[in-house]
């Protein structure tokens, strides 16, 4: 019996994008099974759409807020609808988020020239280095690792939500936006958590391919990787802005 007996009995939701469809692998034909190649190629397609969207957002920054809202809605639809529909919603999510990120980057660039390419470089640098660490076994995700990351991610989400709601009443949680030592430390922590979520994405895709999940899970894996990359990019951009404003 595992020491995680409560988890064995009741399971755990973890990232909601991961908790579905790992049971129906029995009747999937070989040609219809998820592969690593497929998941990587679909991630490349989503990244290309995101870059295409960013080009539009860069040139028409007024689209930032509407596209951010539509992208967020599409993300929730993809997570909470059946994963088999991810192939239909994930490309639109990537394109709309791309437009939003393009607009956000323009605003950041106007204040701090050159910050956009730094954030992009660091985001993909972290992606490649963590992929190497995962593939080589330097970082080994376990149940405790997932529990720790899930708790931290939810904590950050709730903190941001409270801060967002408080902002309507002319108040807010000051330190998370400040450029003081505490604010920078908080941003570093959030970047770390976002980066470690990439490891969970890699493990999800790796095990999905190993277990021969249905082909559509390639889109789902690519989508979850995109969600984490978008979050990581925004957090790195925020961190760099705080550092440059000092």
């Amino acid at each position: 019996m595992s020491k995680h007996s409560a988890l064995n009995t009741f399971g755990r939701s973890g990232n909601p994008a991961f908790s579905k469809n790992f049971d129906n692998t029995g009747s999937v034909p070989l040609t219809e099974r998820m592969t690593l190649d497929g998941a990587v190629n679909k991630t490349a397609i989503l990244l290309a759409l995101c870059f295409g969207g960013a080009f539009i957002g860069w040139n028409i920054p007024a689209l930032t807020i509407p596209c951010l809202i539509i992208g967020t809605i599409l993300a929730f639809v993809t997570i909470f609808r059946s994963p088999s529909k991810a192939g239909a919603t994930a490309p639109f999510y990537a394109a709309f988020e791309g437009v939003a990120l393009g607009g956000i980057t323009v605003f950041a660039e106007m204040q701090y020239p050159g910050i956009g390419i730094q954030a992009i470089g660091l985001t993909f640098g972290i992606l490649a280095s963590l992929l190497f660490c995962y593939k080589s076994g330097i970082i080994k995700p376990t149940e405790n690792f997932r529990l720790m990351l899930f708790s931290a991610t939810m904590g950050i989400f709730i903190l941001y939500l409270v801060s967002f709601i408080m902002s309507f009443f002319g108040s807010g949680i000051g330190f998370i936006h400040s450029n003081g030592l505490f604010g920078i430390g908080f941003s570093l922590f959030v970047v770390g958590i976002a980066a470690l979520n990439l490891v969970l994405d890699f493990d999800f895709i790796e095990e999905g391919a190993e277990q021969g999940l249905p082909k559509y899970m390639e889109w789902y894996g690519a989508f979850s990787l995109m969600v984490t990359l978008v979050w990581l990019y925004i957090e790195i951009l925020r961190l760099l802005m705080k550092l440059r404003s000092r």
Partner: protein, 69 residues
């Protein structure tokens, strides 16, 4: 200089991702007992617990003093 350095970093990282991503993870990573079991759900685990419980399946028989001898 800033653009060249971070631009190169982006291209190199994407190249690494596209190639390394298609390679299977090392045995050190895959052959572990403490791997995350993504497929773990309530139903299958309740089934697993039931199998390992102390219940013995079979037909119930009444035992009287005569058959004991």
């Amino acid at each position: 200089m800033n653009t060249i350095f971070f631009g190169l970093l982006t291209v190199l990282s994407l190249f690494i991702f596209m190639n390394l991503g298609k390679v299977k993870a090392s045995k050190k990573q895959m052959d572990r007992d403490d791997r995350i079991k993504w497929g773990r759900n309530r139903r299958s685990n309740l089934g697993k617990n039931r199998r390992s419980s102390e219940i013995i399946e079979g037909e119930a028989k009444e035992v009287d003093e005569k058959s004991k001898d």
